[in-house]
Symmetry: C2
Subunit: 275 residues, 2 copies
């Protein structure tokens, strides 16, 4: 396995940051994560756009432009010699002299074998619980998943696979996934604000818009529980049915027909993808 | 300079963490910070109590008990050969296999020369702005200072030294300091919830309780601006007058008599401190 570290390729074991980096001092860093299929990074352009948006929002300069970064990532994939990987592009606050003010950012790109959800996972679906929480700067893909990691024991206790955040009665996102609902009259709805704009979310919206009514707007908790189908989208899970929330079965508790159709169309899109 | 790294002392330049550590993956880590005077760590027992409380709240086991950790810190101070240092005890989520679930924590203790605020800084005081924000798990000293670092450009623009957080109209804390107000009828008030319980805060409450009415309770923004005096407390700033907030002068815009008396009594306590 290889990594790219600021200005050179290195062995993975050398991807080391000094404790003075602002991530270790103050949790200050952003990243993005994309997946390769047959050594092609899926939707790389969208991921890089979001990476630069996150970096700019956090006042962190990126030393490479988009074309340079894409070239580095393609070379990293070649060096890794694996067909299906996850590429993580991390940009940190850098080695801060006072442990508080950002310095020259460290850029670390890793490329590791990644496991994605398969058809059997899709059929099983997942159950979720809800939790009131709002991420700070939600449009930024920062490394702050403190609440998500902290909630893991609660998820185990509740036998739930994931947690859906809400705030003031409005649902927003899972820690690493976006939420969609299909209403009983077959409209597809997903939150429009207070959450990260997922790349899979964008693709699913685009696929769905050709065949049904699509709305991006606030969704209340009550509307969620009345949905005919609910699913989440993410880079590694693609589209995953959410079959029960807080112990309430959604629809008939099985993956729904619209979720299933979108899932297969997304798989097709992925197959045809040529960056 | 020396560091302590899990189970051994090392040179500072070797305080390196692999990118798979959960701090760099998910911002998951806690720490505490204390200061030495004449090579004695001030209020170490309080800092260690808070460190273990933060660790437990975040489900992170500490491999040493309090006596062992204190002994390590004392040896680190001896090796550092400096009278006035800041000791940072960092406990991370560890090298997580899936980048999400906590693993065996990494413990890194650093000991660096630290600059504290002096009498001239006290006389100058600071000005602050307010900002609506509530930290997640506020009683935990986590590494998440993302909002505080992110606000630095706004502070520069407003020519303010620090930012006071409030939420739903109630003030809570500065990113690295606690807030106190002295009312016009000479009561000392400080928030009681939704903030980190500072060690200097605890000492100041104890000093003040011997000579005046002290209240720990919610403080509204309006009450803050009506105060006769306001000050902040922190390990490196001790007691620092806050002379203006959001452009509003507090009292007569100079360090007040009660703030001054508490400051000198705190300096005395520090001189007499013998851990």
């Amino acid at each position: 396995m290889a990594v790219f570290f600021n200005d050179h390729f290195a062995a993975t074991e050398n991807a080391l940051l000094h404790v003075s980096d602002l991530t270790l001092q103050r949790g200050y860093a952003i990243f993005d994560f994309c997946r390769t299929k047959n050594r092609r990074p899926l939707f790389l352009n969208d991921h890089l756009d979001r990476f630069y948006t996150s970096a700019a929002a956090m006042h962190l300069p990126v030393r490479y432009n988009k074309e340079e970064l894409a070239a580095i990532i393609h070379e990293l994939i070649e060096r890794t010699l694996q067909d299906e990987t996850g590429i993580r592009i991390l940009l940190t606050g850098g080695y801060s002299a006072d442990g508080y003010q950002p310095a020259s950012p460290n850029l670390i790109i890793t490329c590791n074998v990644v496991k994605t959800a398969g058809l059997a996972d899709f059929e099983r679906g997942i159950t979720a619980i809800t939790y009131e929480y709002q991420r700070e700067l939600p449009s930024v893909k920062s490394v702050n998943y403190m609440m998500a990691v902290w909630l893991q024991p609660l998820l185990k206790e509740k036998k739930a696979a994931d947690v859906l955040y809400h705030y003031n009665g409005i649902i927003t996102e899972f820690p690493r996934s976006n939420i969609f609902i299909v209403t009983k009259d077959q409209r597809l709805i997903t939150p429009s604000r207070h959450m990260l704009r997922g790349i899979t979310r964008k693709q699913v919206l685009s696929i769905a818009a050709r065949q049904m009514d699509v709305e991006e707007r606030d969704i209340h908790l009550e509307e969620l529980l009345q949905a005919a189908e609910t699913f989440l989208t993410s880079t590694t899970k693609r589209i995953m049915p959410v079959l029960a929330i807080d112990g309430n079965t959604i629809g008939d508790g099985k993956p729904g027909p619209i979720t299933r159709r979108l899932y297969h169309e997304f798989l097709q899109l992925e197959q045809q993808y040529n960056n």
